[in-house]
Structures are given as C-alpha cells and as structure tokens.
C-alpha cells in the first residue's frame, strides 16, 4: 500500500502540469466550500458572541405570561398556579446534558419605593433571593467584604450583597460595608460588594449589533439576599427562576428549553404562565437557521464543481490507463494479480484527489482570510469541515477512479503487451 502511495506521488510528480490541471476542479470546489463555511461560521460566532456574551454561557429560565416576561413587583401581584422549585427538581435540571451548574432564585423588580438607606431611595433596581450556587453560576466575584456563608442561609440572616451600581446610587460611593438598608421595611446589613468576573466586550460592527447588545444588557442596580431570608422581606411562595451555566455556547439553547420543559411539567398549573428560556437564544437560532440554509445552498453549488472535478479525474485516469497499457500488460504477465493493478490505479486516483482536497483546504483558508480582510467579515476556520473536505475528496477519488482502475485490471496481458 505504502509502495503504491509512493509510486502515485512519483507519477503525479512526473506529470506536474497535468496533475495540477486535473486537481484544479477539486481544488476550486473544496476551496469554495471551505471559504463559505468559514465565513458563515465566523458570522455565526460573532452574532452568538454579541447576543450571548463570551465565556459566560448563562441561560435564564423565568416566568412568561402570554409570551412576555413577567415582572414580579409590588403592583402586578403574584402569578398564581406556579409552585416553588424543590431541590429534587433542581437536581433534575442540573442532570441535563451539558449543564455545568444551576441555581434557583427569586427576583423582584423595584421602582424606587421599597429599598432605602436612611432617606435615600434606590431607583430602578432588582433584588434577588439567591442560593449558595448563584454567584458561581452567574460568574460573579466578591470584590470586597464577604460572600454568603452557610450560616447566613441556616440562620436566615438579614444580610445583603450589592453591586457597584448600588454603591454609587445608594451610598454615593462611600464604604457600604456594615451599613443597614431597608428592604421592604426589613433591615438588612450590607456584607459585601460583587462584580462580574469576565467583563464582556462585544464586537460591534453595525447598528443592529449595537441594539442587540444594549437590549441584552440589563440596566439598574442589583441587590442579593440569601434565599432563606427572602420570605422575611417578601413571600415564601413566590415563583422562582433558574439560571443555568451551560458547558458551551452551542448547548445553551437546548439546555434552556429542556429546563423550561421540566419546570412547566412539574410545577406550572396555570395556562397563561409558562417558564421560558432567554429569548436572545431564540433570535440567535432563527438567525442561524437563515444562514444555515444559505450555507447549504452555496455548498450545493460548490459541490457541482467537485462533480466536474471528479469527472476530470476520471478522464485523466482513463488516459493514464491507455498510456500505460504496456506497463499493465507486463505487470500482469510477470504475475501481478488483478487486485494489485486495481489498487495501484485506485491509489493513484485517491492520492490525486486527496492532494487536490488538501490544496483546496489551504486555498480555502487563504481565501477566507482574504475575504475577511477585504470585506471585513469575521471568519472562523472549521477544522471538522476541513477534515470532511479532504475525506470527501478521497471519496471522489475512489468513485471516479473505480471505472478506470477496473478497466486496467481487466486488460488482457497479451493484447496489452502487444500494444504500441
């Protein structure tokens, strides 16, 4: 086999121009496919990054009423027909494939009428009742003060952790630690300040990108109290939400949908309220659907070039068999079995097309980079696509090399020896 491959390379080398021309069809086809896949993958990844944020694959599953996210606040009242999330249910969610961690929390949106420090009211803000896994799941770190201890949960301590926006709005940037604030008429002591670990800087190329980024980022201050203290300030049976950290960005959508289904099946009895995962992911999916279908169409067109390339290879292999009739005759006369001749020619054809495929991948990568430079489109080289492209060109070699190889193997040695 190795011998055959070496001989094939020799043969290809000795007919350089012919081999290159033969490979051209394959090279162009594969290069086109790689370029298309790379640019589309690049665009997809950029969209994904802009919508979702990088490195922090969080999906929030929360309550929606008739398709709109339901804000729990002091005016709208509590939605009915939704039970609280049990630990068993949370375990079930954390066992979904590709879930790294998950946390359950309560959330209320406040419009400046229930959170005070002395006489200062906090403007628009959100207050969260969180469990011990919330900060790690969402990617927050304590920047000063301390985080929640186990005893805070056990003893239902009235302690609160705030973000830097709250420090600015409520404390005018003075040290907030150990100050006591009023949350729904209950005194809570500030024990720490948190910030997001990985600050996310989106790639913004267009106005659309900008809006999708702005729409995604929530404004307002945030405060966090232990989930066990939540009923002290609010109600114990308020509907909760779940935040999930997925193992990778691609699985976010499926993880979110599965979690929503689990929750809806288990604890929702109301018709108008449903758990749903982040809608940003849905947008992403529909954008990807569109680009995928264009993708597929373009690849079909490029495949025609591969077909033409394959026919070119077959043509040259037939010429090569005719040219080497005497060689084939001699080899058969001195005892080469049919299979040996067949594999020799088949190897040659496969080596030819795989080389074409390999060069095509290189050209495609180069072309994709050029396109990204010139047209300012992001590209991402897909390694699986490259491997598949080379494998596919091998397959073309086998398919289109088969007829010439069979023809060679079936030559009559006497006629072949006599051939001039």
């Amino acid at each position: 086999m190795l011998e055959n491959i070496r001989l094939s390379f020799q043969g290809i080398w000795s007919h350089k121009l012919r081999s290159i021309l033969t490979m051209l069809g394959i090279i162009i086809g594969i290069a086109a496919i790689i370029t298309i896949v790379s640019t589309i993958k690049g665009t997809n990844e950029q969209i994904k990054e802009n919508l979702v944020g990088s490195g922090n694959n969080n999906v929030t599953v929360s309550i929606y009423q008739d398709g709109y996210e339901y804000e729990i606040n002091n005016y709208s009242g509590l939605p009915s027909g939704i039970n609280t999330i049990s630990t068993e249910l949370l375990d079930k969610i954390s066992n979904i494939e590709n879930v790294e961690s998950c946390s359950v929390y309560n959330k209320r949106v406040d419009w400046g009428d229930s959170i005070f420090y002395n006489d200062t009211a906090l403007g628009s803000s959100s207050i969260y009742g969180v469990d011990d896994k919330y900060f790690s799941t969402c990617g927050y770190a304590v920047s000063y003060g301390r985080g929640f201890h186990e005893s805070d949960f056990d003893k239902k301590r009235k302690v609160v952790i705030i973000d830097s926006s709250t420090v600015t709005n409520l404390f005018d940037n003075t040290n907030p630690l150990n100050k006591v604030i009023d949350i729904n008429n209950e005194p809570f002591t500030v024990i720490g300040v948190i910030e997001k670990k990985d600050t996310f800087k989106p790639v913004i190329n267009s106005i659309d990108d900008y809006y999708s980024y702005v729409a995604d980022s929530e404004s307002g201050s945030r405060l966090y109290i232990p989930s066990t203290s939540w009923p002290t300030a609010y109600y114990f049976d308020e509907p909760q939400a779940v935040v999930i950290r997925a193992k990778n960005t691609d699985s976010m959508n499926s993880v979110g949908k599965k979690a929503a289904t689990i929750l809806n099946d288990a604890i929702v009895t109301s018709k108008s309220f449903k758990y749903k995962s982040d809608s940003a992911m849905d947008d992403l999916e529909s954008i990807q659907d569109i680009s995928n279908s264009t993708n597929t169409q373009l690849i079909w067109i490029a495949s025609i070039s591969l077909l033409v390339g394959g026919i070119g290879v077959m043509n040259i292999m037939l010429v090569s068999v005719t040219e080497r009739t005497r060689e084939i005759g001699l080899k058969k006369a001195i005892g080469a079995r049919k299979g040996k001749i067949l594999s020799q020619f088949l190897t040659e054809s496969v080596v030819l097309t795989s080389m074409g495929g390999f060069l095509g991948v290189l050209c495609g990568i180069g072309l994709a980079q050029a396109v990204s430079k010139i047209a300012n489109i992001p590209v991402a080289i897909s390694i699986p696509a490259s491997v598949i492209a080379v494998a596919f060109s091998m397959l073309i070699g086998i398919i289109f090399g088969l007829i010439p190889s069979i023809q060679a193997a079936n030559l009559d040695p006497i006629d072949a020896l006599r051939y001039e």
Partner: protein, 233 residues
C-alpha cells in the same frame, strides 16, 4: 515433465469467422531442457508461447504444467503460477521506463510479498549475477539494449522460476549482445532452469539442445540439434 501439451487447439474469433492458429499440438518438455521453438512469422509460435506461459488458454486440449492441469485455473491462480514458476523475457524488454534496474527487478518480489529490505538484497544479487552489479541504479534509458535485456532476465529469474520463457530475446539486439544473452541462457540452463525460447534465427536456435519447428500451427516432427546441423551441412 514440466510442460505437457496434449492436442492443443487454438483459434481466434475474427468477427464471425473462426481463425484457427494452432492445430492439434502435442508437446512435452522435461525439467532442465533447453528448447528453441522456431517458425516463420504467422506460424503460431507466439500463440504457442502464450499458452505455455499461461497468458492464454487453449480453445481445446489439455495443458499440464508441473503435473497439474491448468485448464480449470482461475485468473488468480494463473497469476500466481506466472509469478512463481515462470519467468518471461520479451523481445522489447518491457522494462518500466521511469524506474531503476533495481526497482524493475524488485517488482516480482513485491508481488510475491517479500519484505522490502530483502527485496533489495535479492534483486541486487540477481543483477550481480547477470553482470550488472555496478549499474543497479541506472534507468533503462541509460543502458544499452543488451544491458536492458539482462535486467529483464534478472527480473524473470528473481523469483527462482522453473521455466524461463523467452520471446525473441535477441530480436532487438546486435549480434554481440545477442551472444552474451545466449551465454547467460546457457549458464541458467546449466543451473537447472528449463529454458524455452522462441526465435526465427537459426543461429540463436542452435544454442538450444532441442529445436521444435512449427509451421502453419502444426509441429513439424521433433528434430534434435544434431539432425539440424547435419541437414545444414
């Protein structure tokens, strides 16, 4: 008895006409013999050669090679027989042009599945034997006709066949190179190889120990070498 042909008929179909080439040929060749088959062109000697060499099958008749009837052999079995038991030498050498003498001689060893390292050794040894020890890396276009034919003989003999079949081995050579080839054949025959050679030249045929004349597809009754020389003088 290594070659035993009994009542061999061979005809080719030419359109709807049947063109007979060999008529009722019976012939036996013993191990270690040195036989020349002589005949004018069109006499059917090449066809006979192809049948002996298992490249072609007779239309009718039985052919026993080394005791076994090859009539029922598959393509694969015939290939293996040619690989291991028969060596071919052709008028126009039929060397692979792009490859060195060594790789040309290594080819049958490759088909026989000999490991590559051994292949090189055996082939180099064989080239040494035919007097080309210094030219093993030469390509056919860098060698004279006589040297090419010696490479071809080395290739034919490299799998240690029992029979060496030569089709006009000196046809493309000058008389001096031809003589050298004949010397080599004599030497191989002395080592016990059965040599069967086709020629139309009396002088070349006279190197053989037995001459078979063929005319119009029939064997003219066997003559020993002595008889031939008597007739000529």
């Amino acid at each position: 008895m290594i070659i035993e042909l009994s009542n061999i008929f061979k005809s080719y179909e030419n359109g709807k006409m049947e063109v007979p080439v060999l008529h009722d040929i019976s012939l036996t060749i013993d191990k270690g013999e040195y036989v020349a088959i002589m005949g004018a062109s069109g006499s059917g000697k090449s066809t006979l050669m192809n049948i002996i060499g298992c490249l072609d099958r007779p239309t009718k008749g039985a052919y026993h090679f080394d005791g076994s009837n090859i009539f029922g052999y598959s393509d694969r079995q015939l290939s293996d027989l040619r690989l291991n038991k028969i060596g071919f030498v052709f008028q126009s050498f039929h060397l692979l042009p792009g490859q060195s003498a060594l790789s040309n001689v290594m080819l049958p060893l490759q088909y026989a599945g000999v490991p590559k390292k051994q292949r090189k050794e055996i082939a180099a040894e064989m080239l040494e034997k035919v007097g080309l020890g210094e030219r093993i890396h030469f390509k056919p276009n860098q060698m004279s006709g006589g040297q090419c034919q010696r490479v071809a003989i080395a290739r034919a003999m490299v799998n240690k066949p029992e029979v060496l079949l030569a089709d006009e081995p000196t046809g493309a050579l000058d008389s001096k190179s031809g003589e050298q080839i004949m010397e080599l054949f004599g030497q191989l025959n002395d080592e016990g190889v059965t040599v069967v050679m086709i020629t139309h030249e009396q002088e070349i045929a006279s190197h053989a120990k037995r001459i078979i004349h063929i005319k119009d597809g029939c064997i003219i009754p066997d003559k020993s070498k002595e008889v031939v020389t008597v007739e000529e003088s």
